[in-house]
Symmetry: C2
Subunit: 222 residues, 2 copies
DNA sequence: AAAGTTCATATTGTATACAAGAAATCATTT
DNA sequence: AAATGATTTCTTGTATACAATATGAACTTT
């Protein structure tokens, strides 16, 4: 296809937002971006509109665009949905996974667990991502896969808020092992339950509590 | 806020796509749209970009925009996710619904069942929608609610394809009654399971559904 | 000196002009 | 007459110019 400049720019900005190079709340000046990419403001505006629709950018009428900010409440809600989507992936994967996919999943799991006890956190994170994506794929529902990965992307700018709990890596790996077993053995209900528990932060009860709080308790995160 | 023309136009086109005034595959000529709304092509392009990001419009590089077409595979996958999202709404609603919301839900259910046996199909459809939205709201997860309603909107251009099976209205109403009971009595697991079964198109209904599809749904994935 | 108002500046939103690529038409050839 | 190729026309993609609104600074007023 003939790639327009706007469609080339979107992934670049998206990446910078997702990786945290551009922090939530940063102003996205159209003129500056236009100069930086050596294009006019027109494709920049199209790009920003796309990112806004994806939820990564916030466009305030007549007041310019900023990297999307989020409240704690939003974040909790999105994690809750994330747990459910990943749970659905796991459940469907348990029922639909092919023999070849089983092999790939098992080896990804082995590679992951081999890193437990080491200090290769970044590598573990990457492998962890691969493992999860293999599960998404094994659901054999491309729409579901896309939605799940989109939400993951949208959450990623805020992941640094997550606490690094000591020993979390080891227990996470153990949970993965259980989950992979459940999927490979075709236990759909168990796979779903394990995933929900695995992804959910501090238990759903905490979200229950938050959801009952008046809005003004939870203002925007810087 | 000071509404830009583009942000005014998006809902209009969205509505026409959702209601089927603009059918899937229809070309969306920028110049024609610009003349129709008495604006230049610039805001039209922004509008189309937004709708494309929402999945309602398909922009083919250098070849213009059309109302999004969908394959049967896409449709099945989206319905599968829809069943899961609504199931999640029901589960959370069962745990978080307030007394006031219980009252509203019960009366909506009564209004709905009162129409069974009559020929007020459109009215039933509207009330049915209200009932479902009340459940979404009772989940007390606004992000989930938005995602669910977005997907519903995206599916709606294709909803008229659904079969009008004789007696379906009555059995649908019975399922609603069970579901509402489950939510009001706080049975989260049951509410989720009932909803999944309610939304999922399965068995003979699915075959009926397939048989009504126009040929263009059967094309290979674009 | 502080607060409010007014004016200047900068940035967004829209229109128009121009460039590049795709589709359609017409002519030419077999 | 059919098919292929070139030319023309139309549509999209980008740039630039202009209009409208918000932000910030300076000045006046109390």
């Amino acid at each position: 296809m003939a790639p327009s400049r706007a469609s080339e720019l979107a992934p670049i900005l998206e990446q910078e937002i997702v990786t945290g190079t551009l922090l939530p709340g940063s102003r996205l000046d159209e003129t500056l971006l236009a100069e930086r990419f050596n294009v006019s403001r027109t494709p920049i505006r199209e790009t920003l509109a796309r990112l806004a629709a994806a939820g990564l950018v916030e466009i305030r009428p007549r007041r310019g665009a900023i990297v999307a900010t989020i409240t704690i409440k939003d974040l909790m809600e999105m994690f809750e949905v994330m747990a459910n989507l990943e749970g659905m992936c796991a459940r469907l994967a348990a029922r639909r996974i092919t023999p070849e996919e089983k092999t790939n999943l098992a080896s990804a799991q082995n590679a992951c667990s081999a890193l437990v006890g080491t200090d290769h956190y970044d590598e573990y994170y990457a492998l962890n991502m691969t493992l999860h994506e293999l599960i998404y794929k094994a659901s054999h529902n491309q729409y579901l896969m896309k939605q799940t990965m989109d939400l993951r992307m949208r959450l990623s700018p805020h992941r640094r808020l997550q606490v690094r709990i000591p020993g979390r890596l080891a227990s996470s790996s153990h949970e993965h092992a259980e989950l992979v077993d459940a999927i490979i053995s075709g236990n759909a209900e168990l796979a779903e339950r394990l995933t929900r528990e695995h992804v959910t932060i501090q238990g759903e009860r905490f979200t229950d509590f938050l959801s009952t709080l008046p809005p003004h308790y939870l203002q925007a995160t810087a």
